[in-house]
Symmetry: D2
Subunit: 295 residues, 4 copies
């Protein structure tokens, strides 16, 4: 059956997505595609990558499981022998499973609105189940979109208690992904560890240029002709995590710091939304401090 051209994500067939990395040897693709064919799956999309330095092979394969002869719950077990044979580090995702998203904010609303609107339009999949603010300012936005808002103030003295509360909220809401939408607080190593490769931040510069605070002021001082924004997974090292997406915009001597901040808002919105979308579509593999993005 042919898919209608104007069909949206929502009417697509049920799909499984396998992502893995393993030592690069012959026969991996043959075995994986044979597995899918054996149970009557139809491959919709497949991407590979080899890292010649470390001899590592990466693959993402997405297949139609609407006629698959294995139920979702048994696919992983059936695949296990292949994973073992090739020493794969793997995971299997299902389009039927809706990702649950929490957004952390402070006072700036541009990234928050962007995520909410794209989610509403279906561009960003998943369900935004929780908004946490260290300030109460953005509660009305959450209300308008009918999403629970929690005000969790953070001070140097209360940081660990605040994080404990946040982790509890995330856990109870069964959250898969945390998005820092211009959230102006640093997360502790234990928070990062709990949500390893599941916390996405937007940094308002073209990293690694202008790490740390006030990057637009730094860019203004240096007199650059292009400014950027960078979306990355959060690690223990500030602004050093694996980069998911970046983009840039031109500036001139006419642009004040205020102008750069305004131009940068567009970038921040776009770059963060793209990164979140890629993550939720299960298109990213993290390898060392880099990402492999199978677009």
């Amino acid at each position: 059956m042919l898919i209608d051209r104007t069909d949206s994500n929502f009417s697509r067939p049920s799909r499984a997505i396998l992502l893995f990395s393993c030592p690069d040897v012959k026969g991996i693709v043959a075995e994986v595609s044979h597995f899918i064919f054996t149970y009557n799956g139809n491959i919709l999309r497949s991407n590979q990558h080899s890292d010649p330095e470390t001899g590592t092979f990466f693959m993402r394969v997405e297949w139609d499981i609407s006629e698959f002869t294995l139920p979702e719950s048994k696919i992983s077990r059936a695949f296990e022998p292949i994973a073992e044979k090739f020493s794969m580090d793997y995971r299997i995702e299902f389009s039927s499973r809706t990702s649950r998203i929490a957004i952390f904010v402070s006072k700036l609303d541009h990234c928050l609105y962007d995520l909410l609107l794209r989610n509403k339009e279906g561009e960003i999949p998943g369900e935004i189940v929780l908004i946490i603010g260290n300030h109460p300012d953005l509660k009305p936005v959450a209300d308008y979109f009918h999403i629970p808002f929690h005000h969790v103030p953070v001070t140097p003295e209360t940081r660990m208690d605040a994080e404990a509360l946040e982790l509890d909220l995330l856990s109870k809401a069964n959250v898969d992904l945390v998005v820092l939408a211009r959230y102006m607080q640093i997360l502790s190593p234990s928070f990062v560890e709990t949500y390893r490769n599941r916390v996405i931040n937007i940094h308002h510069s073209f990293l690694p240029a202008f790490v740390g605070a006030k990057p637009y002021h730094q860019a203004f001082e240096r007199g650059v002709k292009i400014i950027g924004a960078t979306s990355h997974y959060v690690t223990e090292d500030l602004d050093q995590g694996p980069i998911i997406e970046q983009d840039v915009v031109r500036v001139t001597h006419q642009d004040s710091v205020a102008d750069m901040i305004q131009k940068g808002k567009n970038l921040e919105r776009l770059v963060l939304s793209r990164a979140v979308k890629l993550h939720l579509e299960h298109k990213i593999l993290v390898f060392g401090n880099k990402t492999i993005v199978f677009e």
Copy 2:
């Protein structure tokens, strides 16, 4: 007094903006700048352009009037002799005067949200005083932003009555600029005439490629590798008005029409907002079927 670097539009000094076109002769800049200096104005920004084909000179000059020795109400009269001497077609705008904006919509909300949010943030100046929809769907958005919404249905039979009602609403609200934010109706020549160079539309293609209906479908059929969006002033000829701003994004064979529509939404938002901002900052001169944009 020096302006603070992080200062926003709102704290800028009072400014006057003179825009004109006239036959290109010597001495125009000297006379205009002397006029400003005579009354103790400080030129903040000045742009010129000459069209060699028609021998026409264009200029935009923006000056600080906080110490100007003429009140705003008398500047135009004082300038009149210079305008006559050089046969100028001119206008003078003041930063103290807030532009009044009406937005026309149908069912799609992405451009509407974008305009409302950028206006709220101060990126787009002016006051949005009115939203008119030929469908009632976007009334809740207007409500959330506390802007009056009027549902004016349009059918082939009622078109002229509907336009009469719209024109009445615009007139009563003293509207300066009409923005068609993916408004799916064609305006009559008399409407266009009434708001000549004051109605901005967003067309969802890189004009003049793909005029008319369903441009993304047309782009898909042709197999282009880049799609675009175009913001222009509305004239009697559909999709033929003076272009204000355009931008593009890459597509590949992987992109369905639905994907192009989604990618295009970002473009439409950005391109329309940029055009509206340029208009409201009085940076556009229309000349024939082209625009001179003094960025």
Copy 3:
């Protein structure tokens, strides 16, 4: 053995590249990858695409044949049963086989220089074996790069004779690809038929905007804010062939036609070179009037 990171194309292993289209059914990838594994090949890169409208499946797979147990000359025959089973339209290319390129020019040299320099640097693979000019002006360039140059004048009366001579030169030089590097002549349908999907042209506009002659003049007249260039396969319909690559650059009211021509030269160079490179790397499948580009 790991490949050195700064390794160039020249030291890459011998590779085979299979390209095909066929009706979309289950099991294609499994069978193809099993074939490669059976003869001890290592898949380096694989791309698929499904066209939902026509139910067509497309694939490109590139594999290391340095330890393949079939010689190059026998691979196609061994693959034949699979091709028949799935009703594939296919071809197999080998990295060991150097493509032979002819460039057609008139008087403009910017695209010619660009192709010659990129070829010399190894960015564009293959061997440029022939340059044909309908004017003699660019012979010194050909001489500098030690490539045979043939002056084949074309007039309305001598067109068919000129083409016969060109076809003879191409045939004797065993040419695989003809690049029209701003060649200002139209090829006859029989020429196009002989080199179907093997003649690449650069059109100096963002097609389908501004087909035909003097596109920069047309763009100037329309007052567009962005100009483009388009590389496409040549078909019987002027400027209507399958698009391979496009790119754009911003222009303003300050840009005269002469400025647009100058800005456009950069685009033409880049877009033509990218298209030629993609073709020579066997990354393009033509389907109807579109291209599938497996980057």
Copy 4:
């Protein structure tokens, strides 16, 4: 008389270009434009900029001197009183005066070819009078374009002697601008001082990211999604001089260091050529460690 639309630089009228910076007070534009009008000049282009932090005003004004009643040789003296009145730091350039350019190279030829070809086409004005290489490899390129080539080897021991020789060559050739076209040597502070704001370098990264050696390797290690190139004036601090122009290109996990180097070559070419063109058109003012580029 109207200028033909397809007219090139070469047929433009004689022009004078005044560039200055001074404390920002009222009346500067009026006085400068009056000066030009007094002697029967026609302003073709004028740009201003104010730096609010330091209260500095910058201006570039270009005027037609074909009917100017002062000869070129007397313009500067006549302008002197105005310059003194406003404490201007100024210079006056003339389109009749051809800039003399030296290019320094090592072994890479892509930037050299680009500059030579654009100069030949008239895109980059001026005369390239000298090519100096610390290796002899690119002499044939210089020969092809009929430009004197000097091989000046540089070793740690002979550096100062080599520079003395270079300075002598530059001085004898009356050179105005030195372009480092991927020249792999550091210039001494005294060389920099002699040609202050007249030595343009291309750095193969998006500065200030990846200063120093092997920026593409650094970018590869960090896993950035965008690489860049930066053209700047050379100062005593390596890679820290005033930035003139920057541009970027996307990379993915598929790009090896070799791929980045290849993609980067395009950027380097474009960015260096644009910077050189801007300099030679007298469109750049250096202020502190930044540039004001009046495009």
